[in-house]
Symmetry: C2
């Protein structure tokens, strides 16, 4: 085993740390009510990028002063590589000079990017089959086009929040005994996903190869696509999920770059049939990443991102197939990551067979998520002597609120998702 590179930040060298010098994920943070600023996670610290740039330690063309990372991402792949190299030098064990490091424990983490649009895919064959059985029966479980194209739908970007933001149980229209009723969701679920962040624009009419799409991906976050299964069952045909997925989507605060994941690149699930040329990839497009989720601290499932049938690059290439333009800050959800067995599933719907087989959480039975439950997602890649971790992606469920809630007025606080 080669000796891994070490950092001058001692906590980054502790085995099992999510943020060693090999990782260097980007985020946006604030301390003590100050304006949000850009940072890189290193051990239990955050390197203040805006301060680094102000002190002449890094050069990002002033983009680290912007409230989100979009402007930095817009500088392009060559700059991303240059910044990774500069950060590695700055944070290496043998580097000298003071650095603007902030304890992560005292910082507030914000949404790292201004999400342009959100697209959610459906790329685990196990998940697509299991959910298909529950919604449509075993004969129509896997849609006929599923092994030929990455099926996706446009999600809602305005309700994307950062890890730690409480999620309110939604109200909605739900099928009752004698017609639809307006009620609080009773089948609240999570979906364990990765989210790919698009790092370059494409033009309307421009159609990308898988290789070109790969070059456009800046990095990845964890993504919990909270789902109201009873609202979904009533609303989703024929135009797809809508309000059942619109009440909140949680992402992790640190963007793990494609560069940090490069050593873990691997192939995905075996192909059932050849893909059309526009979806064929010249290199493996997935990563050997352990992913899993917890409920109230108990590990519920663990699997690997490499069970997926389509990579983010294939999804992005397909997305541009019609000539649809992509923009920096577009977020592509991988689809729920599920392995074949129940303890590898990324959603309670699958794990409990549609609520019929309860699971035990800290000694109590559960089918779907109850008020007060906290769901955490995690993901990491194991390198030689280091781990590339994503940090937590957490959300706790608040009880539903009945009735209309009207909060307009000039004194409305600016919500997190609207900053810049």
């Amino acid at each position: 085993m080669t000796t891994p590179l070490r950092s001058r930040v001692a906590s980054a060298n502790v085995p099992g740390c999510d943020f060693p010098i090999q990782n260097l994920p980007y985020g946006v943070f604030s301390t003590g009510g100050t304006a949000p600023r850009r940072g890189v996670a290193i051990g239990d610290r955050i390197l203040d990028l805006a301060a680094c740039e102000a002190q002449g330690l890094l050069d990002a063309g002033g983009t680290f002063a912007a409230p989100r990372l979009n402007d930095f991402i817009a500088l392009g792949r060559v700059k991303w590589a240059g910044m990774r190299s500069a950060l590695t030098t700055l944070l290496a064990e043998d580097a000298a000079g003071a650095l603007p490091l902030v304890p992560m424990a005292g910082a507030t983490l914000h949404l790292p990017i201004r999400v342009s649009e959100f697209t959610d895919f459906y790329a685990s064959k196990n998940h697509a089959f299991n959910v298909g059985v529950l919604f449509r029966g075993p004969d129509n479980a896997l849609p006929p086009q599923w092994t030929h194209m990455p099926i996706g739908y446009n999600g809602r970007a305005s309700s994307i929040v950062v890890s730690g933001t409480p999620i309110r149980r939604p109200m909605g229209q739900i099928r009752g005994e004698s017609g639809p009723e307006w009620m609080a969701c009773r089948r609240l679920d999570l979906e364990l996903e990765l989210g790919a962040i698009v790092g370059a624009d494409s033009r309307m009419g421009e159609r990308l190869t898988v290789e070109e799409a790969e070059e456009m991906i800046f990095g990845y976050v964890l993504l919990n696509d909270w789902s109201a299964r009873d609202i979904q069952a009533w609303e989703y045909q024929p135009l797809g999920p809508f309000q059942s997925k619109a009440f909140g989507t949680t992402i992790s605060p640190w963007i793990v770059t494609q560069a940090a994941l490069e050593p873990f690149r691997c192939a995905g699930a075996e192909r059932v049939n050849p893909l059309l040329p526009y979806l064929q990839e010249k290199q493996p497009g997935l990563y050997d990443l352990t992913v899993g989720w917890t409920m109230n601290g108990q590990v519920m499932a663990r699997t690997n991102y490499n069970v997926m049938y389509y990579s983010s690059a294939q999804q992005l290439a397909h997305h541009t197939g019609s000539g649809c333009p992509m923009r920096i800050g577009d977020l592509l959800g991988s689809g729920t990551i599920s392995g074949p067995s129940p303890d590898q599933t990324g959603a309670l719907l699958e794990m409990t067979e549609g609520g019929k087989e309860p699971v035990t959480v800290n000694g109590a039975p559960r089918t779907f998520i109850q008020d007060g439950d906290e769901i955490g997602l995690h993901a990491f890649a194991e390198g030689e002597g280091y781990r590339i971790g994503f940090g937590p992606c957490i959300g706790r469920i608040l009880p539903a609120e009945e009735g209309a809630r009207h909060l307009t007025g000039t004194d409305k606080p600016v919500p997190e998702h609207e900053i810049a």
Copy 2:
């Protein structure tokens, strides 16, 4: 009949003019390569709002200098009413003083708003039934929830373009004899819709009544939701339309305000069953608007917006039902507007019964749209001695381009949809 108010701009007083002083729709224009600026259409002229503000004729808090109308819209309903009143005074027949008026014929019209997100609904019962028969047969034509909720899906905002922008026929994955093939769309269609522009933010967790939603709508545009029916048929189950609707959506350049449409408020289609309380409206939510479309100049269909089953306010209330936050610049497509007979349908799919019954256009048979065809949408309300028109919403189809098209590089032109 009362004598209608007249304008000092003579062309605005000509019978049948789309833009009399009763209309005053907002847009963004440029002349001779200058930067886009805000304007109001009056007769065959555009009142330059930025120039008006610079000259002290109007006060919009400097927002008329922004490249899109979002900042002005953000000022809120009271300011919208005040500006309408100030514009009416400024443009009245008896007003004096020079005005910065620009001939519309020499101006380039741009997207009037920065579209935050695009949601498309499905609110004509005739259309939902007709299309349902074609996609799923008569037994499952109208989904069971259709008369209980405004079904909608998230569309793609990045491919929304202004009237006049050519639309490239998309390539896509299409079901063939022996499996899917990659080919140019052969069943290219239009969808005649209105688009409502959301004029205020709502908060995450905030749920609006229909009346509150009504107060949040700034105005309306025409919207052509171009659709690739063969791509759609293969991709759309179970998650809804995706690339079949992502290659382009055309909107008209002038936002007709809710205030201008107020005299034409009327009820929509008769209810099949009572709605749940959160969707019930205290006042009629539709408008008596003649709408129609042309192909290569020939009128193909004409109907009325009041055939719709759900209003934009009901759609917006439903959209916030789960607590989904809305943002200024969100665009809500009404859904295809179709009356019961073929010459009242807003899509060729319906008009030709899925391509089985060709129609005649300028003497030649047509099922779907051919390369070079130009589709125009129109809409107007007839007042007493004046007409509130939307102006044209036009798009011409360019032939498909095979192969990948990669246009990246630092010399890429900034496309229309990306300006601020």
